[in-house]
């Protein structure tokens, strides 16, 4: 899920269109499955410098050597040999509006998305008036020295800056899927905010339409220099329809001293997708990182936004929301590593399970020796809408320092008969009543979203709740 230049957006869109159409029409398609040759081809097609090719190949070796993680949800159903690891954008004809599934169209309608935007989101319309807005925003950013380009352009246009930070927050050895992404990454954003610059608009919110082009192995790198500020929003409440069944992104963020970064994700992949994302921020002295992470779609999501608090007084916050309906498993949470004195963190997790859906909170809180005076609180609340649904909590807390304050609270509640009766006694039907309880439950998170996303999020919850009662 990435911000891209307009060229990139159109390319990505075409790739999207491509994924609905005959594979042979693409200009270049890597073979199914993964090999050294495939990775070299990807690097060559992108015209990358040698160091990046080496980086990719090293990552590939690590990926192959590393066993499949067995500590979490079952990944056995993913057929890695059947994945096409790179598709070069083609000018090929896309699919037509008629081919978009009715359920997706219906959801667009319910969300009140204008038709032009609907077509764009579904990958059948390339032109949209947002391009004009996009150029104006780009100028506004450039005037302040902010770099906001596709990850490919970042590597091409800012090679030194890029190389200094790329792969430093999430090294290829971090985990199997980060290694895979490092080998075959394509698409994503490169952002640099200069010292003291405060970007006054949530970046992605203004380019929502371009966001529909989400790469399968997207890679994003954000560097917020000292005292700067930025809010980046990725994703979209509209369901992202894709036939690709596997998505594995890597998001790296560097929060320099006194800087502040908020990264908001609204993930609503179609329910065939395995979504395995590694996202992490390195937070220096006095810096603040905030992850706002909402996972509504996908078949399985494994995502634990992390903050490494490495400078004195650094602060990290993770607000996680998960909604799992029938056939879905959201394994979400957060990780915070306190590695400097007087650092503070807060993890708030809200999960909702319905119709047999499953949510898990998986969290790690680690306080290293020497991180004295650090404080952390973790609050996980789960709401179950019916007896078939499931919620689990896997908190892990490791503390190697005495002088710290750590709080952990977890609760699981069932949607109460008394709550529903109370609301129904005021004239709301069972579904409206349940929706109100759910909307109230996630209100603390929705409140943190930019206005237009909050509105859509509420509509989306209403939609998710349809037909959930009786």
């Amino acid at each position: 899920m990435s911000k891209q230049t307009d060229t990139q957006a159109v390319e990505g869109l075409d790739r999207y269109k491509y994924s609905f159409s005959d594979p042979d029409e693409a200009v270049f398609t890597a073979e199914r499955g993964l090999s050294r040759e495939v990775v070299e081809q990807i690097s060559h097609m992108k015209g990358e410098p040698d160091w990046m090719r080496e980086f990719r190949l090293k990552a590939l070796e690590h990926y192959k050597a590393r066993p499949m993680p067995a500590w979490g949800p079952d990944l056995g159903l993913i057929n890695f040999d059947n994945i096409i690891y790179y598709v070069r954008p083609a000018e090929a004809e896309g699919k037509t509006w008629e081919e978009v599934p009715e359920t997706i169209k219906r959801t667009f309608d319910k969300l009140g998305i204008p038709e032009a935007e609907q077509k764009f989101l579904a990958g059948v319309g390339a032109q949209y008036e947002s391009e004009m807005v996009y150029h104006n925003i780009q100028k506004h950013l450039a005037d302040q020295g902010v770099i906001f380009v596709s990850i490919e352009d970042g590597l091409r246009q800012y090679p030194d800056l890029f190389r200094e930070y790329f792969g430093t927050v999430i090294p290829i050895t971090d985990n199997k899927f980060a290694a895979l992404n490092s080998a075959v990454w394509s698409g994503g954003s490169f952002i640099y905010v200069p010292k003291g610059v405060k970007v006054d608009l949530p970046l992605q919110a203004y380019f929502r339409l371009n966001m529909a082009n989400i790469g399968q192995f997207e890679r994003t790198l954000i560097i917020a220099d000292e005292g700067s500020q930025i809010h980046y929003v990725e994703g979209c409440t509209a369901p992202v329809y894709t036939t690709d069944s596997f998505h594995s992104g890597v998001i790296e963020i560097i929060v320099k001293a006194g800087a502040r970064v908020r990264y908001t994700t609204i993930q609503n992949w179609s329910v065939n997708v395995y979504n395995l994302v590694t996202q992490r921020a390195m937070v220096h002295a006095g810096g603040t990182m905030e992850w706002v992470d909402a996972n509504l779609g996908s078949k399985l999501t494994m995502k634990y936004p992390s903050c490494y608090l490495i400078g004195e007084g650094a602060h990290g916050e993770i607000l996680s929301l998960a909604f799992a309906a029938a056939g879905q498993h959201q394994d979400a949470g957060g990780k915070v590593i306190h590695a400097a004195p007087h650092t503070s963190s807060k993890i708030t997790s809200k999960s909702i399970s319905k119709a047999g859906g499953r949510t898990s909170y998986r969290g790690l809180l680690k306080v290293h020796k020497g991180a004295q005076g650090s404080r952390s609180s973790v609050v996980c609340d789960a709401l179950l809408l019916d007896p078939q649904s499931r919620s689990d909590t896997y908190p892990s807390i490791e503390i190697d320092e005495d002088n710290v304050t750590v709080g952990h609270e977890a609760s699981v509640s069932k949607i109460g008969e008394e709550q529903l009766f109370y609301l129904m006694s005021r004239g709301l039907n069972a579904e409206e009543a349940a929706t109100m309880v759910v909307s109230g439950f996630i209100e603390p998170l929705v409140r943190e979203l930019p206005m237009e996303y909050a509105v859509e999020m509420n509509r989306l919850i209403q939609l998710q709740m349809e037909g959930s009662i009786g």
Partner: protein, 261 residues
């Protein structure tokens, strides 16, 4: 013309255990009735059964609201037909503001009358809500608080009456609205009910104590014992109870007690 509320031979059970054993009660248009009786005689059960709480099963009898039998109707439809219950223990709905909740409830009612209704306009709703909050001497910030969350006992009861005032029902059942209120709050709540009572609203006040009846004059007082109404009379009946307790009624109605044993 049909009475506002007419309960005929109502029997109800929970988990197979009979609680209501033949309740008969008629509230005529514009009347205020009080229902008194010791703990555990079925007063709150009656309130819940009238509203349609899913834990209770009606085993016999009828509940007629302006002539419409409610027994087979869902609670939300009962509400849209004009029945209101002020809960003894209102539950909290975290994250749902009083204002958003009331607007949704008003809109649900309007859509019940006309499926094409677009809902109450925001300025109109704000004006209505402020007016009703003023009636109950509630600070306007109250509208932004989460429904019943962290409310004091008195605030909860006041919020119930605020809902009553805003939703404009035909028949209101107040289930021990007076309990847990200090004297000032009781005056305010009673004042609110009095302001709303009138030809368009029937009221049934369920209470343990005569206290609230000093502020709201009932037309009729009923006494419930062992799942039945055993005595009805004027306001003086409540005063009599205050002096003599319930023992004289138990002696007068030994059958109920025997049946229970």
């Amino acid at each position: 013309m049909a009475a506002t509320l007419e309960v005929r031979g109502l029997h109800a059970a929970i988990d197979g255990k009979g609680i209501l054993k033949g309740v008969d009660l008629t509230v005529d248009k514009g009347q205020v009735h009080a229902l008194m009786g010791p703990n555990g005689t079925g007063k709150s059960t009656l309130a819940n059964v009238l509203m349609g709480h899913p834990a209770y099963t009606v085993t016999a009898g009828e509940i007629l609201l302006e002539g419409v039998n409610l027994v087979e109707i869902e609670p939300d439809a009962r509400a849209r037909l004009g029945l209101f219950l002020a809960f003894q223990y209102p539950v909290a709905i975290p994250g749902l503001s009083v204002a958003n909740f009331l607007r949704a409830a008003i809109n649900a009612k309007r859509r019940g009358l006309n499926p094409e209704d677009k809902g109450v306009a925001v300025p109109e709703f704000r004006k209505l809500l402020k007016e009703k909050m003023d009636l109950l001497q509630m600070p306007h910030e109250f509208a932004g608080r989460y429904l019943n969350e962290g409310f004091s006992g008195g605030e909860k009861k006041r919020a119930e009456i605020l809902q009553l005032a805003t939703l404009d029902p035909r028949m209101a059942v107040l289930d021990e609205t007076d309990s847990g209120l200090d004297i000032d709050a009781l005056r305010i709540v009673a004042g609110g009910v009095n302001a709303l009572a009138g030809p368009g609203l029937g009221v049934l006040i369920i209470t343990h104590y005569q206290r609230i009846l000093k502020y709201i004059q009932p037309h009729v007082v009923h006494i419930m014992l062992d799942g039945r109404i055993v005595e009805s009379g004027g306001a003086e009946l409540a005063e009599h109870l205050e002096e003599h307790g319930y023992d004289w009624l138990r002696e007068k109605n030994p059958n109920g007690v025997v049946a229970e044993a």
